[in-house]
Point group: C2
Chain length 227, copies 2
């Protein structure tokens, strides 16, 4: 094999990894899997496609080495192969948001205007948690809270927030967080809380970034799903 062929083959292999991310549905899958492991049916629900098609995309991600599987009973769980995949996904999002002007329009179309929804940085939140003058709520689906959450956070999936509202003290600021900067769950929670007269902000990014920054987290055994 000549130098040219060998170099092409090597760079084609790098391109294979990029190709596995080069589809919006697979990108959504990576974003969900950054929260923790999930099985096919849940993932199909998340991306709004058939189980067959989701399985097809998951196989593409597995072939590229981005996700790995684990069998438990007759369920197959998918998870990211390593934290480096989160770094890659973060870098991709960063480059996209830095250089793709029209992306801002897409973000706004999806998450709505964020100007008034003050964001809290990871560092500030960590300090406030240490000081104990803030309530942190995890508004992701309960399964993701179980797989891992910010230490001290309480799980209130956004659709249960109205019901649980009275259990939140009215005189303490609430910080909501979810999957990351392009997740709308925390925005919805903050809007709802503010409509009810609460002081609320959202964490600027989400759980994967918090975890990657080695800030304190907790996980629960799957049997301990909080009610």
């Amino acid at each position: 094999m000549g130098k040219r062929e060998a170099k092409d083959a090597l760079f084609d292999a790098f391109a294979e990894v990029a190709k596995s991310l080069a589809n919006g549905r697979r990108a959504e899958l990576i974003d969900v899997l950054a929260q923790g492991e999930r099985h096919v049916e849940e993932l199909a629900e998340e991306i709004g496609h058939s189980v067959a098609n989701t399985s097809f995309h998951l196989r593409a991600l597995a072939a590229a080495g981005l996700v790995v599987t684990r069998r438990d009973k007759n369920r197959i769980f998918y998870r990211l192969a390593s934290d480096r995949v989160i770094e890659l996904w973060t870098a991709l999002r960063d480059v996209a948001s830095a250089h793709h002007a029209e992306l801002e329009e897409l973000v706004e179309a999806y998450v709505g205007r964020r100007d008034q929804l003050d964001e809290v940085s990871r560092i500030e939140l960590a300090e406030r948690i240490a000081a104990g003058d803030v309530i942190v709520i995890d508004v992701r689906p309960a399964a993701e809270y179980v797989a891992g959450h910010i230490a001290g956070a309480r799980s209130i999936p956004v659709e249960r927030l109205t019901k649980e509202l009275r259990s939140l003290p009215a005189d303490v600021e609430v910080v909501a967080y979810c999957r990351g900067p392009y997740c709308v769950l925390a925005d919805e929670a903050v809007r709802l809380l503010r409509r009810r007269g609460r002081t609320a902000r959202r964490l600027a990014d989400g759980y994967p970034e918090w975890r990657h920054a080695r800030l304190p987290i907790q996980t629960l055994a799957t049997s301990e799903v909080p009610s």
Copy 2:
């Protein structure tokens, strides 16, 4: 636009960036452009394709916001849009090498066995340069040296190394560097130097990583091409 459509559109936009890297030739272009700006004809030469096809790929990269252009006389120069693109490219390579077992075979097919070619880390090299007990040679094409190089390095493109050999003191270790961990120029240089009885190693990665680590660099005005 519904939530689903808006989310799909947003993640499709992220996927567009990945798609622009999802081709081996475009990946090679990014790797070369990480060294500094170049024009189409040079880039076509680098990837071994026609100018028309290279232009086509460059437009794909530009559309994704990864490269930008600059006109000088009747030449158009391409360069990476920002350092974040280098971070993305590095993350992609890292994930590929961490999870793609067969990649090692491809690397070996391209760069050859590296076991005996001791590598020097950035940190060690920076210390050795400060101590002044090492000669650093930049074996990339002269144009890339001009665009930027490790401070104190001397430009000896690998094809001129034999000629320049006598000008290198025989009793000092030589460290060669080139474009990055998957570049073969420094390996060739080290092999040649060792065959001639010199003590030589290669920098583990290359110029873009050195620069990104904010270690000392130098650039030359284009008129000062070293002979």
